[in-house]
Symmetry: C2
Subunit: 418 residues, 2 copies
């Protein structure tokens, strides 16, 4: 089917899902998980073809992301089953008022309609996204990366069998068959067919969506996250938080990229920071962090001099830009000028500094004395995640099932007129 046909058939199927109760949707999810396992041989064979085609063209890290194993497939099926356990966001009454004239107004959670998701090469995103869409009552049109195309097709076929076994249309979950830029553009401009577009990927994809999307769209992902160490900080805590935020998983969007240090403690703290991130790690056989230092920091510790771009770069690597600031207000101002609005942290004992930071920083997640790495649907207790929104409209931060729904007002009366 063409991308247009896929969108139209997903839209045509949606009312059936919209009308399905929680039991039916959960039964479908369990059947989808089962079918993933039943189709193990086909899925792994398709994945093998993807791996062979990709070898030599992509990095080892990419190849590993692309690779499926029986264990990973089992993990994907588990993920789908877990979504079945989550509360149904559809039909929840968000607020209920009885008006003086007797009308009862209920603000009720309802599905968006058809969600399109543009993503890259990890095959598990296919089943995760489909499961979250089905649970939240949305048809989904998936547009994965070309490296994982055969795997994604095999996964979607299995998920569709699960839907059919539960009596729901297979066209509720579909994979776009065109992996060129053309199909992404078709999704971005399908006004009236796509109710929500979620691009999950690098800065280039997000920018293309901001510039071209005519359909409602959620920007996800890019994270230039800051940790500010206040004069009042517990410095041991600050070192623990920074090492965690920078090195526990440098390739993810909630990893720290910039460290801001209060001028009054810079001479004491920066040598400890270098010892912790560079010397100790090297001695322990771990990858040391490259420090990119502004002028003030460079006068205190050795490191790479920071260029202009270093405070506006999502390194996604063992690199940390370091800057000395005058106070919490300067930290807030630097963050306002350079952050992507994802996650920022302050380490401080002083409550006035904490308040200045939490009220002044305009990002999705603002942390006091803990690591930016917690910005995640699971860690926030949402049970799942479709991505992390860095925009302010609709959803901000980790998007769980509720963020995949909208609401409508249902009003019951007995003849009221105005």
């Amino acid at each position: 089917m063409t991308t247009l046909e896929i969108m139209k058939s997903a839209r045509a199927a949606w009312p059936k899902l919209c009308a399905a109760d929680s039991q039916t949707k959960n039964a479908a999810l369990i059947a989808m998980a089962e079918q993933l396992l039943c189709a193990q041989a086909e899925i792994l064979a398709a994945n093998q073809e993807d791996l062979e085609a990709a070898r030599g063209h992509v990095s080892d890290v990419m190849l590993d992301r692309l690779r499926l194993t029986p264990e990973r497939l089992e993990g994907m099926a588990d993920g789908v089953r877990q979504v079945a356990q989550l509360p149904d966001p559809v039909g929840r009454v968000i607020s209920r008022v009885e008006r003086p004239n007797g009308m009862i107004i209920e603000k009720t959670g309802v599905p968006m309609g058809v969600i399109a998701i543009i993503y890259e090469s990890r095959p598990n995103v296919t089943s995760d996204a489909a499961a979250l869409a089905v649970k939240s009552g949305n048809a989904c049109v998936l547009r994965g990366g070309k490296e994982a195309f055969r795997s994604a097709n095999a996964i979607v076929r299995a998920l569709q069998k699960g839907l059919a076994k539960a009596g729901l249309p297979e066209t509720l979950v579909q994979l776009v068959q065109d992996t060129t830029r053309q199909s992404a553009n078709e999704l971005m401009t399908a006004v009236g067919l796509i109710d929500l577009l979620i691009p999950r990927g690098g800065a280039g994809l997000i920018r293309a969506c901001t510039e071209n999307a005519k359909v409602p769209c959620i920007q996800t992902g890019t994270g230039i996250c800051h940790v500010y160490v206040d004069v009042s900080a517990d410095q041991d805590m600050a070192l623990d938080i920074i090492e965690n935020a920078k090195t526990s998983r440098p390739s993810v969007c909630n990893a720290e990229e910039v460290c801001l240090v209060h001028r009054a403690i810079a001479a004491e703290f920066l040598p400890r920071l270098k010892e912790r991130l560079v010397d100790d790690r090297a001695a322990a056989g771990k990858t040391p962090v490259e420090l990119r230092l502004d002028e003030a920091a460079a006068r205190i510790i050795p490191g790479t001099p920071a260029g202009e771009a270093d405070f506006d770069t999502e390194f996604l690597d063992y690199i940390l830009a370091v800057k000395v600031v005058d106070d919490v207000q300067s930290a807030v101002a630097h963050i306002a000028a350079h952050s992507t609005g994802h996650s920022e942290a302050i380490v401080a004992k002083d409550e006035a500094a904490q308040r200045a930071f939490t009220s002044g920083v305009d990002s999705a997640a603002v942390y006091v004395n803990c690591s930016t790495r917690f910005t995640d649907g699971g860690e926030f207790g949402l049970g799942c995640e479709m991505g992390i929104s860095t925009q302010k409209l609709h959803a901000r931060g980790p998007m769980g099932l509720e963020e995949l729904t909208t609401y409508k007002y249902v009003i019951h009366g007995n003849g009221q007129v105005r």
Copy 2:
């Protein structure tokens, strides 16, 4: 100032408002209301100039909308004072969880930032929009219609004096000085300067925003609203609701444009409908409603034969398209194909039909046994309204103060790492 300078200065002023507490904002609103009254002479003089320039170019209805009087100005000041009485949406804790690791995650209401509002000729929108923006902690850039340009400038000058008296920057509320299409386009594409664009106006403006906006945007307004009369309806109630929905104020977006009637009662109900909307009204000296009838209805009562476009037109006039449908499912299907997603009503005693309608109709407001005319911030108990969203992202239906805010997660810990 140029439009770009206005946006930049509003953005620069915003942190002061963002940090202001409820008391400061309310004091500013009260001062703004006072200054509106102090500036009565200037505002009425400016309005007189607008009226003189417009006379002969616009309809009498338009002229009346444009006209300010001491009473109307008093009403505007009252409106601003009422916003001061409403609860502050900023800083409200939407949810609070304590995680097993001891982190406390608070989802907290915060302002959007800079809101741009594009609107037409009613001068009161200038003060209403500014008041709602200030209360919700947002700077606002107002772009009114050219007919009301002098009035809007005088109003904004008064509001700015009020802001200054309360110690807030005057640049928090500004009027774009260019009323050509150019300035609307600048607002639509000001990525990074405008956090939310609200176009309030006709279908052409909304379409231009959907097609051109690069900044987050809320579609408001257009309403092709349906009333479906089920076989189980209390027909007297249906007549009351339809007359109210169609004729109480035909020019507004929540007025009924299409009436759907169940086939089994068409022969009985349609003659009563014609009697009520046409004959009785004419006899009482009221404007009769022109009925545009599909074939089945035309076989039962006299009226204008409906053309194709009549079921896709927001008449905003004493015109009602009438169609006979087989059952509630046919009504839902017709609405899915022709509605703008604003407001629809069913008149029915049968609860199964009510449920089929409320679950099947995908509009912002779905009514059972009451008039579509209630879709309004005041009627819903929001206390105010910045417009009615017909989109699904972020806000749907009447937008009050909460809908002008976003949220951020504020997380307190004591050294947690992941």
